[in-house]
Protein backbone atom coordinates (compact mmCIF):
# COMPACT_ATOMS: atom_id res chain seq x y z
CA UNK A 1 0.00 0.00 0.00
CA UNK A 2 2.14 2.83 -1.26
CA UNK A 3 0.61 6.18 -0.52
CA UNK A 4 2.46 8.35 -2.98
CA UNK A 5 1.38 6.81 -6.28
CA UNK A 6 -2.29 6.38 -5.51
CA UNK A 7 -4.82 8.75 -7.09
CA UNK A 8 -7.01 8.45 -4.05
CA UNK A 9 -5.93 7.23 -0.71
CA UNK A 10 -8.13 7.14 2.33
CA UNK A 11 -6.51 6.83 5.73
CA UNK A 12 -8.27 5.95 9.00
CA UNK A 13 -11.53 7.55 7.91
CA UNK A 14 -14.33 7.49 10.46
CA UNK A 15 -17.77 8.94 9.83
CA UNK A 16 -20.50 9.04 12.44
CA UNK A 17 -24.11 10.04 12.45
CA UNK A 18 -25.06 11.57 15.77
CA UNK A 19 -28.73 11.94 16.60
CA UNK A 20 -30.38 12.77 19.85
CA UNK A 21 -32.57 9.71 20.17
CA UNK A 22 -30.44 7.12 18.37
CA UNK A 23 -27.12 8.06 19.93
CA UNK A 24 -23.92 7.83 17.97
CA UNK A 25 -24.10 5.70 14.85
CA UNK A 26 -20.65 4.63 13.64
CA UNK A 27 -21.19 4.28 9.91
CA UNK A 28 -17.53 4.16 8.81
CA UNK A 29 -14.73 3.04 11.13
CA UNK A 30 -10.98 3.55 10.58
CA UNK A 31 -11.29 2.84 6.91
CA UNK A 32 -8.22 2.87 4.70
CA UNK A 33 -8.30 2.36 0.95
CA UNK A 34 -6.11 3.11 -2.06
CA UNK A 35 -7.18 3.64 -5.63
CA UNK A 36 -4.58 3.69 -8.39
CA UNK A 37 -4.89 5.73 -11.54
CA UNK A 38 -7.00 4.06 -14.20
CA UNK A 39 -8.13 1.35 -11.84
CA UNK A 40 -11.63 0.23 -10.94
CA UNK A 41 -12.09 -0.60 -7.27
CA UNK A 42 -15.29 -2.32 -6.21
CA UNK A 43 -16.82 -1.64 -2.82
CA UNK A 44 -19.04 -4.58 -1.95
CA UNK A 45 -21.21 -5.04 1.08
CA UNK A 46 -24.78 -5.44 2.19
CA UNK A 47 -27.24 -2.64 2.81
CA UNK A 48 -26.16 -0.43 5.67
CA UNK A 49 -22.51 -1.42 5.53
CA UNK A 50 -21.51 2.21 4.99
CA UNK A 51 -20.68 2.09 1.28
CA UNK A 52 -22.67 5.17 0.32
CA UNK A 53 -21.39 7.04 3.36
CA UNK A 54 -17.83 6.40 2.17
CA UNK A 55 -18.73 7.84 -1.23
CA UNK A 56 -20.35 10.87 0.35
CA UNK A 57 -17.31 11.31 2.56
CA UNK A 58 -15.02 11.45 -0.48
CA UNK A 59 -17.32 13.94 -2.20
CA UNK A 60 -17.58 16.00 0.97
CA UNK A 61 -21.35 15.83 0.97
CA UNK A 62 -22.02 13.89 4.14
CA UNK A 63 -25.31 15.41 5.32
CA UNK A 64 -24.38 17.50 8.35
CA UNK A 65 -26.13 17.36 10.75
CA UNK A 66 -26.35 14.49 11.68
CA UNK A 67 -23.25 13.26 9.82
CA UNK A 68 -19.75 14.09 10.98
CA UNK A 69 -16.30 13.02 9.79
CA UNK A 70 -14.56 12.38 13.08
CA UNK A 71 -11.07 11.45 11.97
CA UNK A 72 -8.84 10.45 9.11
CA UNK A 73 -7.79 11.95 5.84
CA UNK A 74 -8.66 11.53 2.18
CA UNK A 75 -5.72 12.22 -0.12
CA UNK A 76 -6.65 12.98 -3.70
CA UNK A 77 -3.56 13.47 -5.86
CA UNK A 78 -1.55 14.06 -2.68
CA UNK A 79 -3.88 16.72 -1.23
CA UNK A 80 -6.11 16.11 1.75
CA UNK A 81 -9.71 16.79 0.73
CA UNK A 82 -10.84 17.05 4.34
CA UNK A 83 -8.51 20.01 4.94
CA UNK A 84 -9.80 21.91 1.94
CA UNK A 85 -12.07 24.93 2.16
CA UNK A 86 -15.68 24.63 1.02
CA UNK A 87 -14.98 26.78 -2.01
CA UNK A 88 -12.04 24.64 -3.13
CA UNK A 89 -14.12 21.48 -2.66
CA UNK A 90 -16.84 22.88 -4.90
CA UNK A 91 -14.27 23.32 -7.65
CA UNK A 92 -13.19 19.71 -7.32
CA UNK A 93 -16.68 18.23 -7.14
CA UNK A 94 -18.09 17.59 -10.56
CA UNK A 95 -14.84 18.57 -12.22
CA UNK A 96 -12.12 16.26 -10.85
CA UNK A 97 -14.35 13.90 -8.88
CA UNK A 98 -17.90 13.19 -9.88
CA UNK A 99 -20.58 10.82 -8.82
CA UNK A 100 -23.29 8.69 -10.39
CA UNK A 101 -26.28 8.15 -8.17
CA UNK A 102 -28.23 5.04 -7.47
CA UNK A 103 -31.65 5.98 -8.75
CA UNK A 104 -31.77 7.78 -12.09
CA UNK A 105 -35.51 8.34 -11.63
CA UNK A 106 -34.89 10.82 -8.84
CA UNK A 107 -31.39 12.06 -9.63
CA UNK A 108 -32.66 14.38 -12.35
CA UNK A 109 -34.66 17.50 -11.59
CA UNK A 110 -38.14 16.99 -13.09
CA UNK A 111 -38.65 20.66 -14.00
CA UNK A 112 -35.46 21.21 -16.01
CA UNK A 113 -34.70 19.84 -19.46
CA UNK A 114 -31.87 17.31 -19.58
CA UNK A 115 -29.85 19.76 -21.66
CA UNK A 116 -30.03 22.38 -18.93
CA UNK A 117 -28.86 19.82 -16.41
CA UNK A 118 -25.84 18.78 -18.46
CA UNK A 119 -25.02 22.42 -19.24
CA UNK A 120 -25.19 23.23 -15.54
CA UNK A 121 -22.05 21.29 -14.63
CA UNK A 122 -20.20 22.74 -17.63
CA UNK A 123 -21.22 26.28 -16.67
CA UNK A 124 -20.03 25.75 -13.11
CA UNK A 125 -16.62 24.44 -14.07
CA UNK A 126 -15.85 26.20 -17.33
CA UNK A 127 -16.84 29.79 -16.57
CA UNK A 128 -15.06 31.13 -19.66
CA UNK A 129 -17.00 29.07 -22.18
CA UNK A 130 -19.67 30.70 -24.34
CA UNK A 131 -23.32 29.71 -24.36
CA UNK A 132 -23.21 28.07 -27.78
CA UNK A 133 -20.01 26.23 -26.94
CA UNK A 134 -21.52 24.79 -23.77
CA UNK A 135 -24.64 23.72 -25.60
CA UNK A 136 -22.61 21.97 -28.26
CA UNK A 137 -20.60 20.20 -25.62
CA UNK A 138 -23.85 19.09 -23.93
CA UNK A 139 -25.19 17.71 -27.22
CA UNK A 140 -21.88 15.96 -27.74
CA UNK A 141 -22.02 14.41 -24.25
CA UNK A 142 -25.55 13.22 -24.90
CA UNK A 143 -24.43 11.54 -28.09
CA UNK A 144 -21.42 10.05 -26.33
CA UNK A 145 -23.74 8.16 -24.00
CA UNK A 146 -25.87 7.02 -26.93
CA UNK A 147 -28.83 9.39 -26.90
CA UNK A 148 -29.69 11.38 -30.06
CA UNK A 149 -28.64 15.01 -29.69
CA UNK A 150 -32.07 16.28 -30.81
CA UNK A 151 -33.54 15.14 -27.54
CA UNK A 152 -31.56 17.68 -25.55
CA UNK A 153 -34.59 19.89 -24.89
CA UNK A 154 -36.75 17.12 -23.52
CA UNK A 155 -37.64 16.65 -19.87
CA UNK A 156 -36.53 13.71 -17.71
CA UNK A 157 -40.01 12.14 -17.71
CA UNK A 158 -39.76 11.69 -21.47
CA UNK A 159 -36.89 9.23 -21.09
CA UNK A 160 -36.83 5.63 -19.91
CA UNK A 161 -34.94 4.56 -16.78
CA UNK A 162 -31.91 3.31 -18.69
CA UNK A 163 -31.75 6.50 -20.73
CA UNK A 164 -32.01 8.60 -17.59
CA UNK A 165 -29.03 6.74 -16.16
CA UNK A 166 -27.17 7.45 -19.40
CA UNK A 167 -27.96 11.15 -18.89
CA UNK A 168 -26.72 10.98 -15.30
CA UNK A 169 -23.52 9.42 -16.64
CA UNK A 170 -23.26 12.20 -19.22
CA UNK A 171 -23.51 14.78 -16.43
CA UNK A 172 -20.91 12.95 -14.35
CA UNK A 173 -18.44 12.66 -17.21
CA UNK A 174 -19.04 16.07 -18.81
CA UNK A 175 -15.90 17.58 -17.29
CA UNK A 176 -13.76 14.45 -17.83
CA UNK A 177 -13.21 13.74 -14.12
CA UNK A 178 -10.19 11.86 -12.88
CA UNK A 179 -12.24 9.93 -10.35
CA UNK A 180 -15.74 8.66 -10.89
CA UNK A 181 -17.72 7.36 -7.94
CA UNK A 182 -20.57 5.15 -9.06
CA UNK A 183 -23.02 4.44 -6.24
CA UNK A 184 -24.91 1.32 -7.28
CA UNK A 185 -25.36 2.67 -10.81
CA UNK A 186 -27.37 -0.29 -12.03
CA UNK A 187 -29.41 -1.33 -8.99
CA UNK A 188 -32.53 0.46 -10.16
CA UNK A 189 -32.33 -0.90 -13.72
CA UNK A 190 -33.38 -4.20 -15.19
CA UNK A 191 -30.78 -6.77 -16.15
CA UNK A 192 -30.47 -6.18 -19.90
CA UNK A 193 -30.13 -2.43 -19.38
CA UNK A 194 -27.64 -3.11 -16.58
CA UNK A 195 -25.32 -4.81 -19.01
CA UNK A 196 -25.56 -1.91 -21.48
CA UNK A 197 -24.89 0.70 -18.82
CA UNK A 198 -21.91 -1.21 -17.42
CA UNK A 199 -20.48 -1.64 -20.89
CA UNK A 200 -20.94 2.08 -21.56
CA UNK A 201 -19.25 3.01 -18.29
CA UNK A 202 -16.35 0.70 -18.98
CA UNK A 203 -15.90 2.11 -22.47
CA UNK A 204 -16.02 5.76 -21.41
CA UNK A 205 -13.78 5.10 -18.44
CA UNK A 206 -11.17 3.69 -20.80
CA UNK A 207 -11.51 6.60 -23.24
CA UNK A 208 -11.23 9.27 -20.58
CA UNK A 209 -8.64 7.44 -18.48
CA UNK A 210 -10.81 7.82 -15.41
CA UNK A 211 -10.42 5.84 -12.22
CA UNK A 212 -13.58 4.43 -10.77
CA UNK A 213 -14.90 3.58 -7.36
CA UNK A 214 -17.80 1.23 -7.99
CA UNK A 215 -20.19 0.70 -5.12
CA UNK A 216 -22.40 -2.32 -5.48
CA UNK A 217 -23.80 -5.36 -3.75
CA UNK A 218 -23.91 -7.33 -6.97
CA UNK A 219 -20.94 -9.69 -7.26
CA UNK A 220 -21.72 -10.23 -10.94
CA UNK A 221 -21.16 -6.54 -11.59
CA UNK A 222 -17.89 -6.75 -9.67
CA UNK A 223 -16.66 -9.64 -11.78
CA UNK A 224 -17.35 -7.72 -14.96
CA UNK A 225 -15.98 -4.34 -13.96
CA UNK A 226 -13.42 -4.36 -11.20
CA UNK A 227 -9.65 -4.75 -11.03
CA UNK A 228 -9.66 -4.83 -7.26
CA UNK A 229 -12.40 -5.46 -4.72
CA UNK A 230 -12.88 -4.32 -1.14
CA UNK A 231 -15.48 -6.12 0.94
CA UNK A 232 -17.06 -3.71 3.42
CA UNK A 233 -18.73 -4.88 6.60
CA UNK A 234 -19.97 -2.62 9.41
CA UNK A 235 -18.06 0.34 8.03
CA UNK A 236 -14.66 -1.32 7.66
CA UNK A 237 -12.73 -3.25 5.07
CA UNK A 238 -12.86 -6.94 5.96
CA UNK A 239 -11.11 -8.20 2.86
CA UNK A 240 -9.38 -6.48 -0.02
CA UNK A 241 -7.55 -7.85 -2.99
CA UNK A 242 -7.60 -8.22 -6.73
CA UNK A 243 -10.84 -9.49 -8.23
CA UNK A 244 -9.08 -12.81 -8.83
CA UNK A 245 -8.03 -13.06 -5.16
CA UNK A 246 -11.54 -12.43 -3.98
CA UNK A 247 -13.24 -14.78 -6.44
CA UNK A 248 -10.74 -17.64 -6.29
CA UNK A 249 -9.27 -17.45 -2.83
CA UNK A 250 -11.81 -15.81 -0.57
CA UNK A 251 -10.52 -15.81 2.98
CA UNK A 252 -12.96 -13.95 5.16
CA UNK A 253 -15.99 -15.95 6.34
CA UNK A 254 -18.21 -13.00 5.40
CA UNK A 255 -16.94 -13.01 1.82
CA UNK A 256 -17.51 -16.75 1.69
CA UNK A 257 -21.01 -16.19 3.00
CA UNK A 258 -21.70 -13.63 0.27
CA UNK A 259 -20.65 -16.09 -2.42
CA UNK A 260 -22.61 -18.92 -0.83
CA UNK A 261 -25.77 -16.87 -1.06
CA UNK A 262 -25.47 -16.61 -4.85
CA UNK A 263 -27.32 -19.18 -6.95
CA UNK A 264 -25.11 -21.23 -9.23
CA UNK A 265 -25.89 -21.16 -12.93
CA UNK A 266 -24.22 -24.42 -13.87
CA UNK A 267 -24.29 -26.56 -10.75
CA UNK A 268 -27.19 -28.59 -9.49
CA UNK A 269 -30.08 -26.90 -7.78
CA UNK A 270 -29.37 -26.59 -4.09
CA UNK A 271 -30.84 -24.42 -1.41
CA UNK A 272 -28.96 -21.14 -1.04
CA UNK A 273 -26.98 -20.71 2.15
CA UNK A 274 -27.67 -17.18 3.36
CA UNK A 275 -25.61 -15.68 6.16
CA UNK A 276 -27.65 -16.05 9.35
CA UNK A 277 -28.48 -13.02 11.44
CA UNK A 278 -28.19 -9.36 10.54
CA UNK A 279 -25.57 -6.64 10.54
CA UNK A 280 -24.70 -5.39 14.02
CA UNK A 281 -26.38 -2.17 15.04
CA UNK A 282 -23.88 0.54 14.02
CA UNK A 283 -24.72 2.53 17.14
CA UNK A 284 -23.70 -0.46 19.25
CA UNK A 285 -20.85 -2.32 17.56
CA UNK A 286 -19.39 -5.37 19.34
CA UNK A 287 -15.96 -5.05 20.92
CA UNK A 288 -14.39 -7.87 18.94
CA UNK A 289 -14.76 -8.72 15.29
CA UNK A 290 -18.05 -7.16 14.11
CA UNK A 291 -18.83 -10.30 12.12
CA UNK A 292 -18.20 -12.69 15.02
CA UNK A 293 -21.88 -12.96 16.12
CA UNK A 294 -22.81 -14.32 12.67
CA UNK A 295 -19.64 -16.26 11.97
CA UNK A 296 -19.61 -20.06 12.04
CA UNK A 297 -15.92 -20.15 12.94
CA UNK A 298 -15.98 -17.56 15.70
CA UNK A 299 -13.89 -18.34 18.79
CA UNK A 300 -13.35 -16.48 22.04
CA UNK A 301 -10.57 -14.38 20.58
CA UNK A 302 -12.94 -13.16 17.84
CA UNK A 303 -15.48 -12.00 20.43
CA UNK A 304 -12.91 -10.16 22.52
CA UNK A 305 -10.33 -8.67 20.18
CA UNK A 306 -10.80 -6.62 17.07
CA UNK A 307 -8.71 -8.14 14.26
CA UNK A 308 -6.28 -6.13 12.15
CA UNK A 309 -6.13 -6.15 8.37
CA UNK A 310 -3.43 -8.77 7.72
CA UNK A 311 -1.81 -9.80 4.46
CA UNK A 312 -2.71 -13.18 2.95
CA UNK A 313 -0.46 -12.97 -0.04
CA UNK A 314 0.64 -10.07 -2.20
CA UNK A 315 -2.03 -7.41 -2.38
CA UNK A 316 -4.61 -9.59 -0.71
CA UNK A 317 -5.48 -8.56 2.85
CA UNK A 318 -8.05 -9.94 5.25
CA UNK A 319 -9.36 -8.84 8.62
CA UNK A 320 -9.87 -12.18 10.36
CA UNK A 321 -7.99 -13.96 13.16
CA UNK A 322 -8.68 -17.41 11.77
CA UNK A 323 -7.64 -16.69 8.21
CA UNK A 324 -4.44 -15.06 9.43
CA UNK A 325 -3.60 -18.01 11.63
CA UNK A 326 -4.26 -20.48 8.86
CA UNK A 327 -1.96 -18.49 6.68
CA UNK A 328 0.76 -18.74 9.29
CA UNK A 329 0.38 -22.49 9.42
CA UNK A 330 0.58 -22.64 5.69
CA UNK A 331 -2.92 -23.99 5.17
CA UNK A 332 -4.84 -22.57 2.22
CA UNK A 333 -7.89 -20.70 3.41
CA UNK A 334 -11.42 -21.33 2.20
Amino acid sequence: MVQTEALLSIRDLSIQYVTRDMGCCRAVNNLSLDLQKGETLGLVGETGAGKTTIARGIMGIVPNPPGRITQGSIFFKGEDLLRKKKKEMRKIRGDKISMIFQDPMTALNPVDTVGEQIEEVLKLHQPGAGKEEIRQKAVQMLETVGIPGERIDEYPHQFSGGMKQRIVIAIALACSPELLIADEPTTALDVTIQAQILELMNKLKGEMNTSMLLITHDLGVVAEMCNRVAIIYAGEVVEIGTARDIFKNRSHPYTQGLFNSLPSVTGEKTKLKPIPGAMPDPSNLPAGCPFAPRCGYACEKCMAEHPELLPVEGEHYVRCWRAAEEEQHGIAAG
Partner: protein, 292 residues
Protein backbone atom coordinates in the same frame (compact mmCIF):
# COMPACT_ATOMS: atom_id res chain seq x y z
CA UNK B 1 -31.79 19.76 -36.98
CA UNK B 2 -32.70 22.38 -34.44
CA UNK B 3 -34.89 24.60 -36.58
CA UNK B 4 -36.99 21.67 -37.72
CA UNK B 5 -38.08 20.83 -34.24
CA UNK B 6 -38.57 24.35 -33.01
CA UNK B 7 -42.37 24.34 -33.09
CA UNK B 8 -42.44 20.92 -31.58
CA UNK B 9 -40.04 22.00 -28.86
CA UNK B 10 -42.14 25.02 -27.99
CA UNK B 11 -45.12 22.78 -27.59
CA UNK B 12 -43.18 20.48 -25.32
CA UNK B 13 -41.88 23.39 -23.31
CA UNK B 14 -45.37 24.67 -22.67
CA UNK B 15 -46.90 21.30 -22.06
CA UNK B 16 -47.30 21.79 -18.33
CA UNK B 17 -48.82 25.24 -18.88
CA UNK B 18 -51.11 23.82 -21.51
CA UNK B 19 -52.20 20.98 -19.34
CA UNK B 20 -52.91 23.33 -16.46
CA UNK B 21 -54.83 25.65 -18.73
CA UNK B 22 -56.83 22.73 -20.09
CA UNK B 23 -57.75 21.59 -16.60
CA UNK B 24 -58.81 25.09 -15.57
CA UNK B 25 -60.98 25.31 -18.68
CA UNK B 26 -63.00 22.39 -17.42
CA UNK B 27 -63.93 24.36 -14.31
CA UNK B 28 -66.81 26.61 -15.47
CA UNK B 29 -66.95 28.64 -12.28
CA UNK B 30 -63.24 29.39 -12.49
CA UNK B 31 -63.65 30.64 -16.06
CA UNK B 32 -66.50 32.92 -14.98
CA UNK B 33 -64.39 34.30 -12.14
CA UNK B 34 -61.40 34.81 -14.40
CA UNK B 35 -63.59 36.78 -16.80
CA UNK B 36 -65.03 38.86 -13.95
CA UNK B 37 -61.60 39.61 -12.52
CA UNK B 38 -60.21 40.39 -15.97
CA UNK B 39 -63.06 42.85 -16.57
CA UNK B 40 -62.45 44.52 -13.21
CA UNK B 41 -58.72 44.83 -13.94
CA UNK B 42 -59.29 46.16 -17.47
CA UNK B 43 -61.87 48.72 -16.34
CA UNK B 44 -59.65 49.86 -13.50
CA UNK B 45 -56.67 50.20 -15.82
CA UNK B 46 -58.73 52.17 -18.30
CA UNK B 47 -60.12 54.52 -15.64
CA UNK B 48 -58.26 57.44 -17.19
CA UNK B 49 -59.83 56.77 -20.59
CA UNK B 50 -63.35 56.15 -19.34
CA UNK B 51 -63.39 59.18 -17.06
CA UNK B 52 -60.75 61.65 -18.21
CA UNK B 53 -62.20 64.34 -15.96
CA UNK B 54 -60.76 62.62 -12.86
CA UNK B 55 -62.33 61.31 -9.69
CA UNK B 56 -62.90 64.47 -7.73
CA UNK B 57 -65.11 66.53 -10.03
CA UNK B 58 -67.75 67.86 -7.66
CA UNK B 59 -71.25 69.06 -8.34
CA UNK B 60 -73.04 69.54 -5.06
CA UNK B 61 -76.39 70.28 -6.69
CA UNK B 62 -76.20 66.81 -8.17
CA UNK B 63 -75.60 64.95 -4.87
CA UNK B 64 -77.19 61.64 -3.81
CA UNK B 65 -78.51 60.77 -7.26
CA UNK B 66 -79.75 57.25 -7.88
CA UNK B 67 -78.20 55.33 -10.78
CA UNK B 68 -79.01 56.72 -14.22
CA UNK B 69 -77.50 56.50 -17.67
CA UNK B 70 -75.26 59.42 -16.89
CA UNK B 71 -74.08 58.15 -13.51
CA UNK B 72 -74.52 54.40 -13.62
CA UNK B 73 -73.74 53.93 -9.90
CA UNK B 74 -75.29 57.24 -8.87
CA UNK B 75 -73.49 60.11 -7.14
CA UNK B 76 -72.20 60.67 -3.61
CA UNK B 77 -72.64 63.43 -1.05
CA UNK B 78 -70.49 65.86 -3.09
CA UNK B 79 -72.17 64.91 -6.33
CA UNK B 80 -69.13 62.92 -7.51
CA UNK B 81 -69.75 60.00 -9.83
CA UNK B 82 -69.48 56.79 -7.76
CA UNK B 83 -68.67 54.60 -10.76
CA UNK B 84 -65.67 56.76 -11.62
CA UNK B 85 -64.55 56.77 -7.99
CA UNK B 86 -64.86 52.99 -7.81
CA UNK B 87 -62.67 52.74 -10.91
CA UNK B 88 -60.00 55.07 -9.58
CA UNK B 89 -60.30 53.53 -6.12
CA UNK B 90 -59.69 50.11 -7.62
CA UNK B 91 -56.34 51.34 -8.90
CA UNK B 92 -55.18 52.05 -5.38
CA UNK B 93 -56.76 49.00 -3.75
CA UNK B 94 -55.49 46.53 -6.34
CA UNK B 95 -52.08 48.15 -6.63
CA UNK B 96 -51.52 48.21 -2.88
CA UNK B 97 -52.74 44.66 -2.37
CA UNK B 98 -50.73 43.26 -5.28
CA UNK B 99 -47.64 45.16 -4.13
CA UNK B 100 -47.99 43.92 -0.57
CA UNK B 101 -48.49 40.36 -1.77
CA UNK B 102 -45.34 40.65 -3.90
CA UNK B 103 -43.37 41.95 -0.91
CA UNK B 104 -44.73 39.10 1.21
CA UNK B 105 -43.92 36.55 -1.52
CA UNK B 106 -40.34 37.73 -1.87
CA UNK B 107 -39.75 37.77 1.87
CA UNK B 108 -41.54 34.44 2.22
CA UNK B 109 -39.43 32.85 -0.51
CA UNK B 110 -36.25 34.23 1.00
CA UNK B 111 -36.89 33.10 4.57
CA UNK B 112 -38.69 29.91 3.56
CA UNK B 113 -35.84 28.79 1.31
CA UNK B 114 -33.20 29.58 3.90
CA UNK B 115 -35.14 27.85 6.68
CA UNK B 116 -36.03 24.83 4.59
CA UNK B 117 -32.71 24.35 2.83
CA UNK B 118 -30.29 24.92 5.69
CA UNK B 119 -32.44 23.48 8.47
CA UNK B 120 -31.13 23.12 12.00
CA UNK B 121 -30.66 26.23 14.11
CA UNK B 122 -31.32 28.67 11.25
CA UNK B 123 -34.62 26.95 10.57
CA UNK B 124 -35.54 27.04 14.24
CA UNK B 125 -34.82 30.74 14.63
CA UNK B 126 -36.73 31.73 11.48
CA UNK B 127 -39.72 29.54 12.23
CA UNK B 128 -40.01 30.65 15.85
CA UNK B 129 -39.99 34.30 14.75
CA UNK B 130 -42.70 33.42 12.24
CA UNK B 131 -44.68 31.72 15.01
CA UNK B 132 -44.58 34.96 16.97
CA UNK B 133 -45.99 36.83 13.97
CA UNK B 134 -48.62 34.14 13.47
CA UNK B 135 -49.73 34.42 17.08
CA UNK B 136 -50.76 38.05 16.51
CA UNK B 137 -53.92 38.44 14.42
CA UNK B 138 -53.04 39.91 11.01
CA UNK B 139 -55.38 42.86 11.27
CA UNK B 140 -54.06 43.92 14.67
CA UNK B 141 -50.49 43.58 13.44
CA UNK B 142 -51.34 45.73 10.42
CA UNK B 143 -53.06 48.34 12.58
CA UNK B 144 -50.04 48.54 14.89
CA UNK B 145 -47.65 48.98 11.97
CA UNK B 146 -49.87 51.49 10.21
CA UNK B 147 -50.33 53.62 13.34
CA UNK B 148 -46.61 53.50 14.19
CA UNK B 149 -45.37 54.41 10.74
CA UNK B 150 -48.19 56.81 9.87
CA UNK B 151 -50.72 56.38 7.09
CA UNK B 152 -49.92 56.33 3.40
CA UNK B 153 -49.61 53.93 0.50
CA UNK B 154 -46.13 52.57 1.25
CA UNK B 155 -46.97 52.02 4.91
CA UNK B 156 -50.16 50.21 3.95
CA UNK B 157 -48.18 47.94 1.64
CA UNK B 158 -45.77 47.11 4.46
CA UNK B 159 -48.45 46.75 7.11
CA UNK B 160 -50.40 44.24 5.05
CA UNK B 161 -47.29 42.42 3.79
CA UNK B 162 -45.79 41.72 7.21
CA UNK B 163 -48.87 39.86 8.35
CA UNK B 164 -48.88 37.52 5.37
CA UNK B 165 -45.16 36.68 5.39
CA UNK B 166 -45.47 33.77 7.86
CA UNK B 167 -48.04 32.04 5.65
CA UNK B 168 -45.69 32.26 2.67
CA UNK B 169 -42.73 31.06 4.69
CA UNK B 170 -44.66 27.97 5.74
CA UNK B 171 -45.94 27.27 2.23
CA UNK B 172 -42.40 27.58 0.85
CA UNK B 173 -40.57 25.71 3.60
CA UNK B 174 -42.73 22.58 3.76
CA UNK B 175 -42.06 21.23 0.25
CA UNK B 176 -38.39 22.22 0.45
CA UNK B 177 -37.93 19.85 3.38
CA UNK B 178 -38.61 16.95 1.04
CA UNK B 179 -36.96 18.47 -2.03
CA UNK B 180 -33.66 19.17 -0.27
CA UNK B 181 -33.12 15.47 0.45
CA UNK B 182 -33.96 14.44 -3.10
CA UNK B 183 -31.21 12.98 -5.20
CA UNK B 184 -31.21 15.74 -7.78
CA UNK B 185 -30.32 18.25 -5.10
CA UNK B 186 -27.65 15.90 -3.82
CA UNK B 187 -26.31 15.45 -7.32
CA UNK B 188 -26.33 19.21 -7.82
CA UNK B 189 -24.13 19.43 -4.75
CA UNK B 190 -22.01 16.64 -6.17
CA UNK B 191 -21.29 18.70 -9.29
CA UNK B 192 -20.05 21.54 -7.11
CA UNK B 193 -23.03 23.90 -7.08
CA UNK B 194 -23.32 26.56 -4.36
CA UNK B 195 -26.38 26.62 -2.08
CA UNK B 196 -27.71 29.80 -3.72
CA UNK B 197 -27.42 28.20 -7.16
CA UNK B 198 -29.22 25.07 -5.97
CA UNK B 199 -32.02 27.07 -4.38
CA UNK B 200 -32.58 29.23 -7.46
CA UNK B 201 -32.18 26.57 -10.13
CA UNK B 202 -33.46 23.41 -8.50
CA UNK B 203 -35.66 24.23 -5.55
CA UNK B 204 -37.67 27.33 -6.49
CA UNK B 205 -38.88 25.94 -9.87
CA UNK B 206 -40.16 22.91 -7.99
CA UNK B 207 -42.26 24.90 -5.53
CA UNK B 208 -43.63 27.44 -8.01
CA UNK B 209 -46.99 25.66 -8.22
CA UNK B 210 -47.65 26.08 -4.52
CA UNK B 211 -46.35 29.66 -4.55
CA UNK B 212 -48.56 30.72 -7.47
CA UNK B 213 -51.65 29.41 -5.72
CA UNK B 214 -50.69 31.15 -2.50
CA UNK B 215 -50.08 34.41 -4.38
CA UNK B 216 -53.55 34.32 -5.90
CA UNK B 217 -55.20 33.67 -2.55
CA UNK B 218 -52.83 36.15 -0.91
CA UNK B 219 -53.96 39.01 -3.17
CA UNK B 220 -57.57 38.29 -2.21
CA UNK B 221 -56.68 38.46 1.48
CA UNK B 222 -54.67 41.62 0.94
CA UNK B 223 -57.61 43.35 -0.73
CA UNK B 224 -59.65 42.75 2.41
CA UNK B 225 -56.83 43.92 4.67
CA UNK B 226 -56.13 47.04 2.62
CA UNK B 227 -59.80 47.95 2.46
CA UNK B 228 -60.13 47.19 6.17
CA UNK B 229 -57.21 49.42 7.11
CA UNK B 230 -58.53 52.26 4.98
CA UNK B 231 -61.99 51.78 6.42
CA UNK B 232 -60.51 52.34 9.85
CA UNK B 233 -58.80 55.46 8.54
CA UNK B 234 -55.29 54.00 8.79
CA UNK B 235 -54.68 53.27 5.15
CA UNK B 236 -54.99 55.50 2.12
CA UNK B 237 -56.33 58.93 3.10
CA UNK B 238 -59.24 60.78 1.49
CA UNK B 239 -59.82 62.44 -0.92
CA UNK B 240 -57.92 59.71 -2.78
CA UNK B 241 -60.61 57.16 -3.52
CA UNK B 242 -59.99 53.68 -2.20
CA UNK B 243 -62.65 51.02 -1.79
CA UNK B 244 -62.28 50.84 1.98
CA UNK B 245 -62.12 54.63 2.37
CA UNK B 246 -65.20 55.01 0.20
CA UNK B 247 -67.08 52.52 2.37
CA UNK B 248 -66.02 54.35 5.48
CA UNK B 249 -67.23 57.72 4.18
CA UNK B 250 -70.42 56.28 2.78
CA UNK B 251 -71.31 54.76 6.13
CA UNK B 252 -72.57 58.16 7.31
CA UNK B 253 -75.05 58.36 4.45
CA UNK B 254 -76.11 54.74 4.46
CA UNK B 255 -79.77 55.57 5.24
CA UNK B 256 -79.98 58.25 2.62
CA UNK B 257 -78.26 56.60 -0.34
CA UNK B 258 -77.56 52.87 -0.39
CA UNK B 259 -75.54 53.11 -3.61
CA UNK B 260 -72.67 54.87 -1.88
CA UNK B 261 -71.93 51.83 0.28
CA UNK B 262 -73.14 49.09 -1.99
CA UNK B 263 -71.04 49.86 -5.05
CA UNK B 264 -67.54 49.82 -3.56
CA UNK B 265 -68.71 46.91 -1.40
CA UNK B 266 -69.70 44.92 -4.45
CA UNK B 267 -66.36 45.74 -6.08
CA UNK B 268 -64.51 44.32 -3.06
CA UNK B 269 -66.70 41.23 -2.83
CA UNK B 270 -66.45 40.45 -6.55
CA UNK B 271 -62.67 40.77 -6.70
CA UNK B 272 -62.11 38.76 -3.53
CA UNK B 273 -64.50 35.96 -4.45
CA UNK B 274 -63.20 35.66 -7.99
CA UNK B 275 -59.57 35.57 -6.81
CA UNK B 276 -60.42 32.91 -4.25
CA UNK B 277 -62.17 30.75 -6.83
CA UNK B 278 -59.29 31.21 -9.27
CA UNK B 279 -56.83 30.25 -6.55
CA UNK B 280 -58.73 27.09 -5.70
CA UNK B 281 -59.03 26.17 -9.37
CA UNK B 282 -55.30 26.73 -9.86
CA UNK B 283 -54.52 24.51 -6.92
CA UNK B 284 -56.65 21.72 -8.34
CA UNK B 285 -55.21 22.21 -11.81
CA UNK B 286 -51.58 22.30 -10.72
CA UNK B 287 -51.88 19.36 -8.40
CA UNK B 288 -54.19 16.77 -9.96
CA UNK B 289 -53.47 14.32 -7.15
CA UNK B 290 -55.56 16.38 -4.75
CA UNK B 291 -58.70 15.82 -6.77
CA UNK B 292 -58.63 12.05 -6.77
Amino acid sequence: MRSKNKAERNLEKNSMLRETFYRICQNKLAILCMVIFAIIVILVCLAGVIAPQGYDEQNVSNAFKTPSLQHIFGTDNFGRDIFVRVLYGGRITLLVSIASTMVATLLGLLFGCIAGYFGGAVDNVIMRVMDVFMAIPNMILAIVIATTLGSGMVTTVLAVAVGSVPGFVRIVRAPILSIRTSEYVESARAIGAKPAFIIIHHIIPNIMAQVIVQVTLGIANSIISVAGLSFLGLGVQPPTPEWGTMLSQARNYMMRSMYMVTCPGIAIVLSVISLNVIGDALRDALDPRLKN
